[in-house]
């Protein structure tokens, strides 16, 4: 079998791919930011006094973590309209990514919060701070710092998960790649190229994460 790789078709449409890569980064960033918010709020809810709220959060986390992302995004896109909620593919993708990443973030951040030495909380209480103040000023930052590596590697996975959004016709790297593949039948060239692009994107993300960590967690620890 002699197949000669010919990247000319890919190169010709490189601008399209790069634009789509930007869209992928955009989806990932939006998803992550919301996921972080969901993660923090979810942890607050899980620590709340209200049993129902705690139960809801636990249920949400379990359902999301134990079903494939594809099924989740399908439901948001195809089933919600039956309840009158119609979201366009990009919004759907962001929401699905946020919910998926959020469920993982809740579990991860909760681990960090649980790992905060009890003495820290007691010191806060002894100073007269209230539960909310303690969470906000004493627990949150050190907890995020402890779990930062797990959180960011989860977010890199979330970035790669954006490729599944192609199945609800969202605009991102994989869908554009598939379109180019369908037009030209240059499958190898297209897939090799986007594999490389994904690698670049995830490396970029890691770089940015490292930078963020250096800026926000600049306090020394023993």
């Amino acid at each position: 079998m002699s197949y000669t790789l010919d990247f000319s078709a890919v190169i010709e449409r490189l601008p399209e791919l790069l634009l789509a890569a930007l869209a992928t980064i955009g989806l990932a960033l939006a998803g992550m930011s919301l996921a972080t918010v969901i993660g923090v709020l979810g942890v607050v809810a899980r620590r709340s006094r209200f049993k129902l709220l705690r139960g809801l959060v636990i249920g949400f986390v379990e359902v999301i973590r134990n079903t494939p992302f594809l099924v989740q995004i399908f439901f948001i896109f195809f089933a919600l309209p039956q309840l009158g909620v119609r979201l366009n593919p990009t919004v759907t993708a962001i929401i699905a990514l946020a919910l998926n990443g959020g469920a993982y973030a809740i579990e991860i951040i909760r681990g960090g919060v649980d790992a905060i030495p009890k003495g820290q909380i007691e010191a806060g209480l002894a100073l007269g701070l209230h539960r909310g103040q303690i969470f906000r000023h004493v627990i949150l930052k050190p907890a995020l710092r402890t779990v930062y590596p797990s959180l960011t590697s989860q977010f890199v996975m979330l970035t790669l998960t954006t490729s599944v959004c192609t199945s609800i016709a969202a605009y991102e790297l994989t869908s554009v790649a598939q379109k180019i593949e369908a037009d030209t039948f240059r499958s190898f060239e297209v897939y090799f190229s986007i594999t490389l692009l994904y690698l670049v994107i995830s490396s970029l993300m890691m770089g940015v994460f490292a930078l963020i960590s250096r800026i926000s967690f600049n306090y020394p620890v023993k």
């Binding site: 079998m1 197949y3 195809f78 192609t166 016709a169 379109k179 030209t184 190898f188």
Partner: protein, 247 residues
């Protein structure tokens, strides 16, 4: 694995790639057996060669790689013939035609490409409907779904206003939502050809000869009637920039 026609004959099997999930063209049925128009034509081709057919169900994303890396000898994989694709693979003469139309709700006025401006149009990813509408209605908001099922579901749930579909969409839409949808206008008739690796004259010539035979002796008509419930369309003698024979 795959090789030349002579090797396939010597081995007694021809390896045929078909689509795994594109009824009624090519699909794997509930018993896990490949079925559909492409499967029947594949079987006829194996009979023609006097060998057994070994089917490999493929997805849209991997049919070309499977052919190019020799994992299959030929593709009867619902491949619409376009000039750009013909730069990569070798098409045979066409063996099926597909009337593609735009479907939409009865109460929506859509007369042609011009009416698609700014309209959300669903199409199956990598399909000829995609190609046609992309070319014809540049300012349409085209959403590309993984397959026909998702595309139809998108129309039913209102995520798109109209869809580009093949001749089977009418029935399906009618079953799901009686009297609500209708074909709006025809896009094009797209012809499907078998695919082989470029430069491999033996396969291309053998398939063309086989297609000439089943077109002539009515076997194609029988298969066509079974799956498409239609008459075999009249095939063009040539298509611009799509050579039917290997050089």
């Amino acid at each position: 694995q795959a090789g030349t026609v002579a090797e396939a004959k010597a081995k007694g099997t021809v390896v045929i790639g078909i689509q795994g999930d594109n009824a009624p063209w090519g699909f794997v049925n509930s018993s896990g057996v490949q079925d559909g128009l492409d499967a029947d034509i594949g079987k006829a081709f194996a009979d023609y060669l006097g060998v057994k057919a070994q089917f490999v169900p493929l997805a849209v994303a991997n049919r070309i790689p499977a052919l190019m890396t020799g994992k299959v000898d030929v593709l009867f994989a619902t491949m619409g013939m376009t000039a750009e694709r013909a730069k990569t693979i070798q098409y045979s003469k066409p063996y099926a035609g597909n009337v593609l139309s735009v479907y939409g709700p009865k109460d929506k006025k859509i007369g042609g490409y011009d009416d698609l401006k700014g309209v959300a149009v669903g199409v199956p990813k990598s399909s000829a409907m995609d190609t046609a509408i992309s070319a014809g209605a540049k300012s349409a908001n085209i959403l590309r779904f993984d397959d026909d099922a998702a595309n139809i579901q998108a129309l039913l749930s209102g995520q798109v206003e109209v869809v580009g579909g093949n001749q089977f969409y009418g029935d399906r839409l009618n079953t799901a939502a009686p009297d609500k949808y209708e074909p709006k206008f025809d896009l094009t008739t797209l012809y499907n050809g078998a695919g082989t690796r470029p430069g491999e004259k033996d396969w291309n010539e053998t398939i063309n000869a086989f297609l000439d035979k089943i077109k002539a002796d009515g076997e194609l008509a029988k298969i066509y009637d079974k799956w498409m419930k239609r008459e075999v369309p009249k095939f063009p003698e040539q298509l611009p920039d799509i050579p039917f024979t290997a050089q």
